[in-house]
């Protein structure tokens, strides 16, 4: 309600022109930064900027909620999960989907243009009513909101409760698994091993390593016992399942030939 003679710059306007660009920058950071953590932090910037804007629009409760609930809780949850799944893997710069990126930007620009075109001039009254009066009605923003929340919108409020229950149950369901058996620690395992040795005579020590041949020392190659037979324990069960066990016979032959060659050379040398 200022005079129209002077282009008055109100506090709200200042706030807007500071927080607005910040929010946009934050958003851009979210979209553009390759590291997820940077993205999350940029997001925080955008959110806090929005909180500022809320405050400037006489919505202090929301501004606080935005900071405490959104930035403080929700975003932190994101960060926790980010850390859980490994923050070190940035998105690869190569876009796998053909033409996805340009089309995405085109789409984004299109949406923005469309929205701005539609919104521009759509408001018939340039002067906002502001919620000052509404806030004052019950003595404050929080009271006003409370009145609505527990009055007109009580059903939604209850519905939101259902929503939160679902969320909680969902998180439990997908992220928490109940162990059926107790996980064994080092001592228990050692005891088990000795028990097996005592009762069944199983070798308590480490298993024999794989064989080393002239042609290969792959893990799939079985070790040989001194009598030339295969040491069963040197074969990995998993590799057997995969069928990746190397047949030792040809390997032995190669080894044998090699030895033979060496021997023959030696013989030749001896001959000389």
């Amino acid at each position: 309600m200022n005079t129209t003679l002077l282009p008055l710059v109100t506090g709200a306007e200042v706030t807007f022109w500071i927080a607005g660009p910040l929010a946009v920058l934050g958003a851009l950071g979210l979209v553009l930064s390759r590291r997820a953590v940077y993205a999350a932090l940029s997001m925080a910037v955008a959110m806090i900027s929005l909180a500022v804007l809320y405050a400037s629009m006489d919505a202090p409760f929301l501004a606080m909620a935005q900071i405490i609930v959104y930035t403080g809780a929700v975003l932190m949850m994101f960060l926790f999960v980010l850390m859980m799944v490994g923050i070190d893997t940035p998105d690869s710069a190569v876009e796998t989907l053909k033409a996805q990126r340009p089309l995405a930007f085109l789409g984004g620009i299109g949406i923005a243009a469309l929205l701005i075109f539609a919104i521009g001039g759509a408001l018939h009254r340039a002067e906002p009513a502001t919620v000052a009066a509404a806030n004052a009605e019950f003595g404050g923003n929080v009271e006003g909101l409370a009145n609505l929340l527990f009055g007109r919108y009580v059903f939604v409020f209850e519905l939101a409760a259902a929503l939160l229950i679902v969320a909680a149950v969902g998180a439990m369901l997908l992220a928490h698994h109940q162990r059926v058996r107790v996980r064994k620690g080092q001592p228990e395992m050692a005891a088990d091993r000795m028990y097996a040795y005592a009762t069944k005579g199983e070798h308590p020590g480490p298993l024999p390593s794989s064989g080393v041949y002239a042609g290969t020392n792959a893990i799939g190659a079985p070790a040989l016992l001194p009598d030339g037979s295969i040491a069963e324990k040197s074969i990995s069960h998993t590799l057997t399942m995969r069928g990746a066990i190397v047949d030792p016979v040809p390997l032995q032959q190669v080894t044998g030939q090699t030895f033979a060659a060496i021997e023959s050379v030696r013989d030749d040398e001896e001959d000389v």
Binding site: F16, M77, A104, G107, A122, L123, P128, Y153, V156
Partner: protein
């Protein structure tokens, strides 16, 4: 007094940027954050609406949106964690067994 359309245009911008993020980011977490950004943009519009009309319904709505967003985040993160456990990856693109 500032033209309240500015708030809406800012919301539109954020919304558009958020949607671009969903389209371009392969990390499910980031993509999901972009969705959150879109919801935030909506909130801004709602609060702006509240501001324009001088009624608190918009702010109540924004509040509910926050609740919804929180719940959604919980469920979303649970799903992402579950996927991560199975595949050791949070890339949206890796999940493409279902197609054609």
């Amino acid at each position: 007094m500032m033209n309240p359309e500015n708030y809406l245009i800012l919301a539109a911008l954020l919304f558009a940027i958020g949607s671009v993020g969903v389209l371009t980011r392969r990390n499910a977490l980031v993509a999901f954050m972009c969705v959150e950004l879109m919801l935030n943009a909506c909130n801004l519009a709602l609060v702006a609406g509240s501001h324009i009309h001088g009624a608190l319904d918009g702010q109540v709505a924004a509040f509910f949106v926050m609740v919804v967003a929180a719940a959604e985040v919980v469920v979303g993160l649970a799903i992402i964690v579950m996927i991560y456990r199975t595949r050791r990856s949070t890339s949206v693109d890796d999940a493409n067994l279902l197609k054609l």
